[in-house]
Symmetry: C2
Subunit: 910 residues, 2 copies
């Protein structure tokens, strides 16, 4: 097995198609070097295969030999040798996984230096200071990362050296002092590890590669992958590359460049640049950076070369690229490129822009509308749907608008404090001088992030944009002092509330009012294109219980309501007492009276909903939750009883609460089982629904009603429930004049035949169909039988997931899911993204069996997965007709549906 | 579609193979008439098809025409006509479902009588009294059954007539009085229904047939079917048969005969007989009956004919038959036959006896051993395993030993009182003069039944035998008076405790001590034969947690332990405090100390178990239940806190109980999830198990250990859990001298290879294998993946059923199951007999995928279904290697396994 490929290796396929093997960085380096022939320093990639082998069985046997061969080849190309005192080669060792994990894994620079080669480097560069500074950096970096020595052990001597030399800036330390520091550092290594700092460059290299492999399973990296839903199995590649130096002199420098503006999408290159600096300085945001315009002014030829490279990259990748470049004594080197991350607004704008030709003549290029659709991810839409501020007080300061959206929260100054406050339920704004990977746990929970330093590609900016968290960076008038910050006269202490506008960079004191987002025009363009692909293939409905939700859903493009949960109507404060009367009823008459009261209010609720959704189907689920949810807590009443005593009413409620209490309510007297125990309840709901349909018909609206039976497990159960609904329809139609009769199906056997007849004869009447949820594993397995007496199925994937896994959301998801994801026991939270293997198979089985039994049966999904792009892909492939999700997820579902249809879900398999 | 067949119809197949269509009674009548040419009164059978059509869509259109044709044919054969004043034909109308439902459905006799034909009957029989008595009986029977009139409406005028005539016995009422009663009865009908009593015999017939159809869905019939697990869909056939009369004179009579003794199995005909009586008189037990010896004395020729018929029936059916016969003025008629119900001891004896030739020469017959095995049902074994009395005080009286076994309980005198007492948890003895179908709900819950009247084929006897409920009937010294009974001087009041020996017929005052049953020698013969079939094909193991259980299981033939639930070891009073210390531990050291204490006691437990099962596999399930099961109730502590306050210890317990409390514990932090949260727990259990194995090896025993991981849902979870176990095995083997090392598999990847090696190199060492339960739907679906790292699967069908249905046993099974079974929403309680369609499919899927991934994987089941015969059939067909059940079910499982192998489970599909 080959574990290593040089960047200039002639792969049989495009290196970009080998990201699984080479990692993203390695593939892009190979692409730039072997396909585009750009100026890339030579190097090689140790593949992810090697990393996976290492994780399973330790260091691969043949790897040392391959490294030796590849290093020899690299030395030939570079005409320099690792550790060579006369012509020393220095290399960087960087991680590069398939999916970018910025800052999550380890890097070692300047590798190859030792006591001999440092002398050679000083000679060949004629710069002793540079040479020992590089060696010092290398020893401390290697000490920290490969040998696991606490970084402070190196910082203390460094500070002491500066003090002793009487200088403040690192750059002012003389070569001699740096030379001394190298000795000190080597002693630190000896003291901490009991061994000498390795002088053999091959040993150094193996140690660094192994450290990168190990860092794949570092806590930070695991947390990041859980957050980003990346599989723990992939492993990372390792890129070993000849060093170039942006910090050699003032004719050197380093920068990060985007071929377009990653924040706005504007077709104008954007970048940060520092003279006489190393790449890490730019990304860490320690020094404030210069722009590409500054580069053009100072290095016009380099700038022109870079712009040409940008053009070539965009033409080649047909997308916005993000690059790292270094100027080493006047020579431009490309150190990295990749298709760049972008904000939601930028993603939309770029996708739409790129469907028109970029450039002209032979080199002009564009992408198709389908490509444009595939370029936009759920998170992008989510971001442009992010709330903005409705009105703002005057900004106290302004920083760089690093990640759009509005955020309000209490200020915390450390990641730990932020995490703790968020754990208490507070909305948190994390304020830091700059952020580093150690802050990720605080950044994850923050509503917004504010840093005093750093540019638009600083750690804080990149991470926040990726997550859609509003962020302002480089707000340099912000002075942080322990657990407070000042801006001019204003003092903001820990816990004080501020507001951030990540779209403009404005910081306001106090809580501004949030308003709904104002999507860009490209947002609408993309969704229009998505609908062109999607319509007639996969509909998108909303889960909505009120007319307000329904109106919002329609506005976002919902084509109906896939789930109206009627229990929400039961919990309103004016209804709960009536519901309790119904439960407590000791005679049929009392129960009937309470039901009749409920019927009246439910009729109004349903009418409002049907009105709002006129002309579109509305699926009403009959009451689902266990009755004890409508009763007070047994515990509280018991304590009251044991202390102050209960009223007669409370006593009755307690008895009822006891008698309806269940050990496992999730698997208890719910759904259609309630109907079996209290058939009057379901009958009442159907009566209310039919009456509501009458009302809105009389107002000129066109209601389309779908009655849904929850939690079915047997055909017999469904047939019984269906007969109740049909009886109500029959009774109802007898009461009405012929013109207002419903076109419902009166007999299970003849339902199909009748529905055809009815559609012809009674097309003006509201349609009522009857279906069931598929939310137990058994229902999925017996879907063929259920289909015979269902007009539609709606997959309740939340409950189906709970039962298929035996995971109670109330218990397992909060208690165990984080541990399970971190340990890799689950690749995804199956409540967010449908479990393709287990639950997904049940969905596919049920859809296939349902369709086999009744070809025209309508299939949909109303679990939360209905708004998850990857899950939508599975639903489309399973042959579903629609997905239903919360109103705010509808644009995402529309896009994801189109993407599923174009050819699989947007997300690559992580 | 043909809905009716005459008894002498020439079917293309044997009528007995048409029981689905003709019902049991109809099929047997046709068999006797058209195949055996026995003296059966002519008649015809309305098929179950007609009944099912009736249930779905009302009276079938073509049925009236068919009835007309069949009646005409019957009239021709009988040379008499329904309602004919000169030569009247009378018919009986009786239900006859596929499976016998004694007394559960309705019968109408003497149909065809009206105001004209009653005169004709008087003339042709020359017996006016008989004629009007028949008419009176017909009107009241028809009134009650077909027209739904309260029986009391007919009883009152009857009592008045007797009073007015000054007679006590029915038989003494003169013809004139009976004639008057007929008029009165017709007025009752008019008054109650508003319509005249139907004079048209065809109308009468249609009414009676419809009444029988309707009675299929009567409450009694439904309850019976639920109890007997008969599908509600089958429907009943209706048999219309020319009447013969056992009550014509003293040259007439009626009886019930068994070709062998149904209680003991002895090969000697047995029967009850009454001169000048109708069949119902015998069954109802109103008059005490005479024996077949009495018949021989009084009607020697008839007796000889009957004995010949018995021989022919046995030869034909190759089984013991149960018959009804009537002598009408000296002529023998067979009214019914069927393969008779029998006690467990009788079933065993008959099955074994019949493998030896019965009779001699050409007519000799016998059955094969396989046939014999198929003849014995689980209930039969259950009955002979029933406890007997260890010692008995002197019997206060003795009745007929109607159903074997010993019963102790409090006396109740009505079915309602018995049911109420049983509902309160009391053991109940139901004492009645005689029983009727209205008493069934009391009989169902009774531990034993005692009646003062009736014979061995009375309702009480038949029903009790069918259910294996000990019963004594015809104890005529028992005098019942309201809510007490007297026997001589002894008075027994409601609630007093008595003891019944159903095997001897003895009634004792007070509670006798129960002892284990003493199975008959045929019991052992049958099980030996079963094992000959079964061995090597489907093993039977026991679910056992203690060495006592294990010893009992071995005695019953268990071939290992399929499930040892270690939590039972945790709940012992001396361990619970240690378990709580482990849960409350605030430092790893505290937790480790508590675990170590538990390890010591668990080691002893495991050693005892391994000792008892030496040489046989013992599957130990690592801790499964949620931890809050080991903590006190939150509610109780909360109340205590609110009132008298908590100790510091209680306070800590309450905090822990709160933090471990779950909304749905069934779907919560259980099984391997516990292991993930507290890996020290599982490690401790494995350590204890390995130490226990050492101990018993050192004692010369041969432990075979199978470690089982519960509640797995992902391969990653199982791999992790497996690694814990393997680590313990590795650590353990390092501590031991080489000779005592375990042959366990140390690497997942190499497990198969290693196990082969190990079995060769280390055959003397205790074997440890590692497997998982398949008890979530997801585990079943991903069984292929799980098999790669499992040495065995054990299906936990209890939990699998809960999750597949979404039925919590704690909630749904008690609250809803009875209603669901009665309404036919479920055909069976899926916790008793595996749901073939849903859960069964998951078992089959998992078994197939498991075997595909690893051919040699061992498959078993340890849910309660492992002891259910019908479920065992499915497990065998799914390819499982063993079933595991409670020790007392092992004989049943051994038999059921053999039956499954012979060709499907014993039970026909009900």
């Amino acid at each position: 097995m080959t574990f290593i490929y040089a960047f200039d290796h002639k792969h049989r396929k495009s290196p970009m198609s080998l990201k699984d093997l080479l990692g993203g960085k390695g593939a892009n380096l190979a692409e730039m070097m072997s396909v585009l022939h750009l100026p890339v320093p030579h190097g090689f990639t140790v593949t992810t295969d090697a990393c996976r082998d290492y994780m399973h069985g330790g260091w691969p046997k043949s790897l040392d030999k391959e490294i030796t061969l590849q290093v020899a080849a690299l030395e030939r190309k570079m005409k320099a040798r690792l550790g060579d005192p006369s012509s020393p080669l220095l290399v960087s060792v960087r991680s590069g996984a398939k999916f970018s994990m910025p800052g999550m894994m380890d890097t070692v620079l300047n590798l190859g230096l030792n006591d001999k080669s440092v002398v050679g480097l000083a000679r060949t560069t004629n710069d002793e200071r540079f040479s020992y500074d590089s060696y010092r950096r290398f020893i401390s970096m290697y000490g920290r990362i490969v040998l696991g020595i606490d970084g402070a052990k190196f910082e203390h001597p460094f500070d002491a050296a500066k003090k002793s030399a009487g200088v403040k800036s690192d750059a002012d330390l003389p070569a001699r002092a740096l030379k001394g520091l190298c000795e000190t550092y080597k002693q630190v290594v000896k003291a901490e590890t009991g061994r000498e700092f390795p002088q053999d460059p091959m040993k150094q290299l193996r140690g660094a590669i192994e450290a990168v492999f190990r860092s794949w399973n570092g806590a930070r990296a695991i947390a990041y992958r859980v957050r980003e839903k990346i599989s723990h199995d992939l492993g990372t590649a390792v890129n070993v590359q000849a060093m170039v130096f942006g910090n050699r002199d003032n004719n050197s420098g380093t920068g990060v460049g985007f071929t377009r503006n990653a924040a706005t999408g504007e077709n104008k290159p954007y970048g940060d640049f520092l003279v006489n600096a190393q790449g890490e300085d730019v990304v860490a945001g320690i020094r404030n950076t210069e722009t590409l315009d500054d580069l053009k002014r100072q290095f016009p030829a380099i700038h022109a070369e870079l712009m040409t490279i940008f053009d070539r990259l965009e033409r080649h990748y047909k997308d916005m690229c993000d690059t790292e470049f270094t100027i080493d004594q006047g020579k431009l080197w490309m150190l990295q490129t990749r298709v760049g991350k972008r904000t939601g607004a930028a993603a939309l704008r770029m996708a739409v822009d790129m469907t028109k030709p970029t450039g002209s003549g032979k080199t002009a290029w564009k992408i198709s509308k389908k490509d444009a659709l595939m370029r936009v991810a759920a998170e992008h839409l989510d971001q442009v749907l992010h709330p903005q501020f409705a009105n703002k007080s005057k900004a106290v300061t302004k920083g760089l608008a690093a990640s759009p959206g509005a955020a309000v929260g209490a200020v915390y100054f450390t990641a730990d404090d932020a995490a703790a406050a968020a754990g208490r339920g507070e909305a948190v704004i994390l304020v830091r001088s700059e952020t580093s990977p150690e802050d990720v746990h605080g950044m994850m929970v923050a509503k917004g992030i504010l840093t005093a330093r750093g540019g638009l590609v600083s750690h804080a900016a990149v991470v926040a944009r990726g997550w859609g968290t509003p962020a302002i960076v480089g707000a340099d008038s912000v002075h942080i002092d322990g657990k407070m910050f000042t801006v001019g006269d204003t003092v903001v202490r820990e816990g004080d509330v501020i507001s951030l506008d990540g779209t403009t960079g404005e910081v306001m004191i106090g809580a501004m009012t949030l308003a709904a987002a104002e999507p860009t025009k490209e947002f609408h363009t993309i969704l229009k294109w998505a609908d062109e692909i999607r319509k007639g293939k996969l509909a998108v409905r909303a889960n909505a219980d009120t007319d307000e939700d329904a109106a919002k859903a329609r506005e976002y493009g919902a084509e109906g309501i896939g789930l109206c949960r009627t229990e929400h109507m039961f919990l309103a404060p004016d209804r709960l007492p009536v519901v309790r009367r119904m439960i407590l009823a000791s005679t049929p008459a009392e129960e009937a009276a309470a039901l009749d009261e409920l019927r009246k209010v439910q009729t109004e609720d349903f009418a409002a909903l049907l009105r709002a959704m006129s002309g579109l189907p509305v699926t009403v689920r009959l009451l689902d939750p266990p009755l004890h949810e409508f009763l007070p807590s047994v515990d509280e009443l018991e304590i009251k009883k044991a202390t102050v005593g209960l009223t007669a009413e409370e006593s009755k409620l307690m008895d009822a609460a006891h008698s309806w209490a269940e050990v496992n309510p999730m698997l208890g007297t719910r759904g259609v089982r309630l109907g079996v125990i209290k058939p009057g309840l379901y009958a009442m709901q159907v009566r209310a629904l039919l009456a509501a349909a009458d009302i809105v018909v009389s107002e000129g609206f066109s209601p389309i009603v779908e009655v849904m039976i929850p939690l079915t497990v047997t055909k017999e159960e469904l047939a019984l429930a269906r007969s109740w609904v049909e009886q109500e329809i029959l009774d109802h139609s007898k009461q009405l004049k012929p013109a207002a009769k419903f076109g419902a199906k009166n007999s299970v056997k003849n339902s199909v035949k009748n529905s055809v007849k009815n559609s012809v004869k009674k097309s003006k009447r509201p349609k009522v169909t009857i279906g069931t949820m598929i939310e137990t594993p058994r229902a999925a397995l017996v879907a063929g039988e259920l289909a015979e007496i269902s007009d539609f199925f709606s997959f309740g994937t939340n409950d189906l997931t709970q039962m298929t896994f035996g995971f109670s959301r109330d218990d397992v998801e909060s208690r165990m899911m984080p541990a399970y994801l971190e340990a890799g026991l689950l690749k995804r939270n199956p409540f967010e993204t449908i479990d393709q293997v287990g639950v997904g198979e049940l969905v596919k089985i049920a859809a296939a069996r349902g369709r086999k039994a009744k070809r025209g049966i309508k299939l949909g999904v109303c679990g939360e997965h209905g708004g998850d792009p990857e899950s939508i892909g599975l639903f489309y492939r399973a042959g579903l007709d629609y997905v239903s999700c919360s109103p705010y997820r509808i644009p995402i579902a529309r896009l994801a549906a189109a993407q599923a249809i174009i050819g699989g879900s947007k997300a690559e398999t992580k």
